[in-house]
């Protein structure tokens, strides 16, 4: 009797803790939707196409959307090939000293304070160029993205059963073919998950952009000019006393959240199906 009771109490305790862990997530989702949807309805489509208004006027967040997409795109362009190759290297040569070092360094990079990444990029790119730029922002985002993509790639590659590779070698395929046509193809889903998680992660980053991207409220500049970003805008706008700036910040948060969900939900659902 007592044992059953103990069992029940413990199970309830487990359920409660699980609930407490996900509670903040639901709170965030709820408050972003509750505060963001009225803003989108109030400002209409102009919210996505116009630039920052003066205090107490209506406007939109186009330069921020532009900047975020541009920098995430550039960061992916630079970072994904690099990170995937690094992940393949670590997975294919697990006992090499260099690959062991890379693996632990990647784990450290995951935890690295992103504001320091921003400062580093400021020193090596912003100062020599002489201006804040989308390129510098994208470079900082790329550094933040690398460890996610590389780690996911490595794990996906390693989860491929050895029999497939042995079979491929037995058929006389060279290592290049085995890695890229067999293993990578089987691990595709894991690798793509890694890419998307990396992209979603950096699209919400503020700290690496403060010292690199500069900011832009009303211009959509080229690669070498300062650009805005959705998280940067939220960060700056909530510090102002004006209601319309707070509204725009909530609306921007909702746009960011929708973007995030649009990337995540399809992956998760497709994972469940297989």
């Amino acid at each position: 009797m007592l044992r059953e009771l103990k069992n029940k109490v413990f199970v309830i305790y487990l359920i409660l803790s699980a609930f407490l862990v996900i509670l903040p997530l639901f709170h965030i989702l709820f408050s972003v939707f509750a505060n963001g949807i009225p803003v989108l309805l109030k400002y209409g489509l102009a919210f996505l196409t116009e630039t920052l208004p003066a205090p107490n006027r209506g406007g939109g967040i186009f330069p921020a959307i532009y900047g975020t997409f541009m920098m995430v795109f550039l960061a992916s362009l630079m970072g994904i090939p690099l990170a995937v190759l690094a992940g393949i290297f670590v997975a294919e040569y697990p006992n090499n000293a260099l690959s062991r070092a890379t693996r632990s360094l990647l784990l450290i990079m995951l935890e690295f304070p992103t504001i320091l990444v921003g400062l580093f990029v400021m020193a090596i790119l912003v100062m020599p160029i002489g201006s804040f730029s989308a390129l510098a922002g994208a470079f900082a985002l790329m550094i933040v993205m690398l460890p996610y993509v590389a780690t996911y790639t490595e794990q996906a590659m390693r989860s491929v059963p050895a029999q497939y590779k042995e079979g491929a070698y037995a058929l006389g395929l060279r290592k290049v073919r085995v890695v890229f046509s067999i293993t990578l193809k089987i691990a595709k889903k894991g690798v793509i998950t890694g890419l998307l998680i990396g992209m979603a992660k950096v699209s919400g980053e503020t700290a690496p952009l403060i010292f690199t991207a500069g900011n832009a409220w009303r211009s959509t500049g080229g690669v070498l000019e300062p650009v805005g970003a959705i998280p940067l805008w939220i960060y700056y706008l909530v510090q102002q006393p004006y209601t319309n700036y707070h509204e725009i910040a909530w609306g921007a948060a909702l746009v960011l959240m929708l973007f995030f969900l649009a990337v995540f939900l399809p992956i998760r659902l497709s994972m469940v199906r297989t």
């Binding site: 193809k185 102002q240 006393p241």
Partner: protein, 355 residues
């Protein structure tokens, strides 16, 4: 896999098209970048909005990240202009001089106000009493010192809760400089600075909030509290402000008129923009004048005397507009410059040359 390549190819093509069309537009437009103090940011946004209506060829971008960050960006020539609340220090000025000829002049005036959360409509305080409250020496709202200044007010016998900034802030610097000016005791025990140790924290009646918004939020939820914030916040949140005794013995509330009066009374202390570091913010506090509000402060802009030709033209047209037309588009919480100080800035802007 092929699908992915096709999709990313299309995306890339669209992106390139976007860049190309962007650059065609950019040829006629000149972009000016600025960064620095967050206090004047809403006013600058408003100016940019009005300015862009009359001048479509110049795009001005300002990012508010704090006075210190602005000065650093300016020193590294990452931005065309920087805004700073306290004037640049002499050591910073020497650094600028190594890179070119700097200019600094005030462009907007603001005020720090003391707000209270009490069911009392009107509260008068003088500097001395205010200092004692913020040091924790006055414990109750119905203290003799406060009663003497407000004989008709129905003050409750409640403990005073003091709310201040917990982060390093220009607002705190202005406020503590004022208190040090009017109270010797405060100067010795606390002193002036961006971040000070409030003695009232140690006796459990003082609490810190991060940023103007943090202080505002805490203040709203705490009855019997007193706090200091930027005027824009107090107006926006409809906080009750105290009437503060000025140098000539009158009790005044902060508004555009009393702030301008204070600045006009001490406009002689604004130095030549070419020697901007010589400004001493203390000289604008507790200013003379019957109608002067005692706690006012400037926001300053830093510019170079020479820029590449196109940029020089754009910078001149923007700052010229700010100091003339712009002074008519002032939003709630700020006050325009008196004419003689605006003239000083205009002369400096005129001296900017294109290379």
């Amino acid at each position: 896999m092929k699908k992915w390549i096709a999709v990313s190819g299309i995306l890339f093509a669209v992106f390139l098209l976007g860049c190309v069309s962007e650059q065609n537009v950019a040829k006629e437009q000149i972009k000016i970048y600025g960064s620095g103090a967050s206090f004047p940011a809403p006013q600058i946004e408003n100016w940019i909005y009005e300015f862009s209506k009359v001048n479509k060829n110049v795009i001005v971008e300002y990012s508010s990240k704090g006075s210190g960050a602005g000065i650093n960006d300016f020193k590294s020539k990452l931005v065309h202009f920087a805004c700073t609340d306290p004037p640049a220090k002499e050591s910073e000025w020497i650094e600028f001089k190594k890179l070119g000829e700097p200019l600094q002049f005030p462009f907007i005036v603001g005020a720090v106000v003391v707000v209270y959360n009490l069911p009392v409509d009107e509260l008068k305080l003088d500097g001395e009493t205010l200092a004692k409250i913020f040091m924790g020496e006055i414990e109750f709202w119905d203290d003799q010192a406060i009663k003497a200044l407000n004989p008709n007010a129905n003050l409750p016998h409640e403990k005073i809760i003091v709310i201040h900034r917990s982060d390093s802030s220009g607002t705190t610097e202005v406020f503590t400089t004022y208190l040090s000016l009017v109270s010797k005791d405060f100067k010795e025990k606390v002193g002036a600075g961006k971040l000070v140790e409030w003695p009232v924290d140690k006796i459990g009646r003082g609490f810190g909030g991060k940023g103007n918004e943090g202080v505002s939020a805490m203040f709203k939820q705490t009855s019997n509290s007193i706090a200091y914030v930027e005027l824009a916040y107090a107006l926006h949140e409809n906080f009750k402000m105290i009437s503060l005794k000025n140098a000539e013995g009158n009790f005044v509330k902060a508004n555009a008129e009393t702030i301008s009066s204070a600045i006009s009374a001490s406009s002689a202390y604004v130095p030549d923009p070419k020697e901007g570091y010589k400004e001493d913010p203390k000289q604008f506090l507790n200013a003379r004048g019957k109608n002067s509000y005692p706690i006012v402060s400037f926001s300053h802009v830093l510019l170079w005397q020479s820029y590449p030709k196109d940029e020089a033209q754009a910078i001149k047209s923007f700052w010229n507009w700010v100091l003339t037309e712009g002074q008519k588009h002032i939003i709630e919480g700020y006050a325009p410059l008196p004419k003689e100080i605006a003239e000083l800035g205009l002369k400096a802007v005129e001296s900017i040359r294109g290379e």
